[in-house]
């Protein structure tokens, strides 16, 4: 029997993987993907809570759909900026981009 806890643990793990990738990845596209993981871990939460806590209302699932849309928008803008960065710096490695101190 898969319970709420299982979903929460999964999403927590996914979130941690996302944070880990965000901090360790040097490739800008990899960083963006890690952020996507974090978004999706939250989505798992929403859907799990929706199923177990408020089964009669679909609030959480609706929220997840919105998040997918927003994540897509964010990724679009993100990739555009990565392309810009590739043009200007000729690199996609975030370490190279350090004109101003972090």
């Amino acid at each position: 029997m898969v319970t709420l806890e299982h979903y929460l643990i999964l999403s927590a793990l996914l979130f941690c993987v996302g944070i880990f990738g965000l901090l360790t990845r040097r490739n800008a596209v990899g960083v963006l993907m890690s952020i996507e993981l974090m978004f999706n871990s939250a989505n798992i939460n929403f859907i799990a809570f929706s199923k177990f806590i408020t089964p009669e209302a679909l609030t959480g699932q609706i929220f997840a759909i919105f998040v997918i849309t927003i994540a897509a928008a964010e990724a679009t803008v993100g990739l555009a900026i990565v392309v810009l960065m590739y043009r200007n710096f000729n690199a996609v490695n975030v370490d190279k981009i350090n004109f101003m101190k972090w």
Binding site: L8, S11, F15, G18, L22, A28, V31, L32, I35, M38, F39, S41, A42, N43, N45, F46, A48, F49, I53, T54, T59, G60, I62, F63, F66, V67, I70, A73, E74, V77, G78, A80, I81, V82, L84, M85, N88, F89, V94, I97, N98, F99, M100, K101, W102
Partner: protein
């Protein structure tokens, strides 16, 4: 469910106007693009008029609420957008391509913020926060061939997206605990719970962390100086005021409405953030040589002051934050306007380059002094009344040490703000040529000066206008 679209009229009107700006952009010759700025200003002013005159209420089952609180913040967003656009005209013409989209994106971001301040549930709040922020990602990277601007865009994007993911995770936990997204219902649910669990604490911490990124509060401020330095200056001005105000509106909506009953859990956390922001912002600002970085650190410190009022969680806290943000809007955008006007002529953001500005343009120099003094909180500028209210709110609730910290760090801030005045007035530069200020910029500067001085001297009308704002919470 009765849906009253008329309550949304300011937001919808501005959204349509933003689309209008994009469309008109297609049919405008390159040399006439500046007229789009004036078109945008007209739209923003009309929206402000509509906001003030439209009625209040809530619709979409409480997801959208037009109240005095939202209206006050809308005026702040619209005001900063108007001042930003007005100050940007020459800068955009000289340094940026795709002028029409620039103004359109600012309008879109403003629309997002206006939805945010009116949101009654976490979904609306989150989506509108993203609408506001994603437009700003693009704007930060708007100087396409400029390396610093690209870097600013990238940093802002990565940290902004990551913070919004953290915020989202916090929201999902809060949803799991309370079983609802509507702010009122969450408050009700939480007040019925006898104790709060570790999951709840985790969710609050994540929400605070996510929103602190938007506010650029310590320890989530790392992006702020770089983005402020790299982004086009009008965007920096807008970021430093409107985006922070939006974060505050979200923070107040969530914490004063839904989480007020658990204030014992999160007030210490915010107090610590406030103290760190005031100390770090002010101390690090002392060592800056680039005026945009200096203002970035000062804006971190300003958030610290605002949080001093925030932790009081009282009617006075709401009033004081709105009042202060209003004063901060005029002063901070005003200071950035001087930076823009000076950059347009000299092409430099170095504080040393300001040497002798009092001779080159007495108007710019004295305006800068007035804005900086307002940021310190020296009477009779608006910043004084604002800080006075913030500190009063905290003292009313007995938070003395943080107020002491606040005033002492204000003295530090006086020191570095004075270093700018020192360059402008006490030094003489190599270049003696007068700095010309364009008429649009001059009008915008006069408006900001008038706002700074009038609110400081004649505060009563503003106070009575925002007096109803706290009724949304208490």
């Amino acid at each position: 469910m009765q849906i009253e679209l008329s309550l949304l009229s300011p937001q919808l009107f501005l959204l349509l106007w933003a689309i209008l700006v994009f469309v008109v952009d297609f049919f405008t010759a390159e040399r006439n693009k500046a007229s789009l700025a004036y078109l945008s200003i007209i739209g923003l002013v009309l929206t402000a008029i509509i906001s003030i005159s439209s009625k209040q209420g809530e619709t979409f089952g409480g997801s959208f609420r037009a109240d005095t609180f939202g209206l006050s913040f809308n005026i702040i967003f619209l005001g900063s957008a108007i001042l930003t656009v007005a100050s940007a005209v020459d800068y955009v013409k000289a340094h940026l391509k795709h002028q029409g989209e620039f103004y359109g994106l600012i309008l879109l971001s403003t629309v997002g913020m206006m939805f945010l301040s009116a949101s009654g549930d976490l979904l609306t709040l989150y989506v509108s926060l993203e609408l506001a922020t994603i437009s700003l990602f693009v704007l930060a990277a708007y100087m396409k061939s400029d390396l610093k601007s690209t870097e600013a865009g990238l940093k802002y994007l990565i940290l902004g997206a990551a913070s919004s993911a953290i915020l989202l995770y916090g929201i999902s936990l809060l949803y799991g605990i309370s079983g609802t997204l509507v702010l009122d219902a969450i408050a009700l649910k939480l007040s019925q719970m006898p104790t709060v669990g570790p999951l709840f604490i985790l969710s609050i911490v994540m929400i605070i962390a996510g929103l602190s990124f938007k506010l650029a509060a310590v320890p989530f401020h790392m992006w702020c100086p770089d983005v402020y330095e790299g982004a086009p200056t009008p965007v920096t001005a807008y970021l430093s005021v409107a985006s922070k105000a939006a974060g505050l509106a979200a923070l107040i909506r969530i914490f004063f409405k839904s989480l007020a009953s658990t204030s014992m859990q999160w007030v210490p956390l915010l107090m610590a953030i406030s103290a760190m922001a005031m100390i770090l912002g002010n101390v690090v600002a002392v060592r800056q040589h680039n005026i945009k970085r200096l203002l970035a650190y000062s804006s971190i410190a300003q958030i610290g002051y605002i949080l001093v009022g925030f932790i009081a969680v009282s009617e006075l806290a709401v009033t004081s934050i709105i009042l202060y943000v209003l004063a901060y809007m005029f002063a901070n955008i005003g200071a950035f306007m001087v930076v823009i006007a000076f950059y347009n002529v000299s092409g430099s953001d170095d504080i040393m380059a300001y040497a002798g500005l009092s001779k080159r343009s007495p108007f710019l120099a004295i305006s800068m002094v007035v804005f900086l003094l307002s940021l310190v909180g020296i009477p009779p500028m608006a910043g004084f009344i604002g800080k006075f209210y913030l500190f009063s709110a905290a003292i009313e609730k007995g938070y003395y040490w943080i107020v002491v910290l606040g005033v002492l760090t204000s003295v530090i801030s006086l020191y570095y703000y004075m270093s700018i005045a020192y360059q402008m007035y006490f030094k003489t530069g190599d270049d003696d040529s007068p700095v010309r200020v364009s008429p649009t910029m001059a009008v915008a500067l006069v408006v900001a000066l008038a706002g700074t001085l009038l609110i400081g001297v004649y505060t009563q009308p503003v106070l009575s206008a925002i007096s109803g704002a706290s009724s949304a919470f208490f």
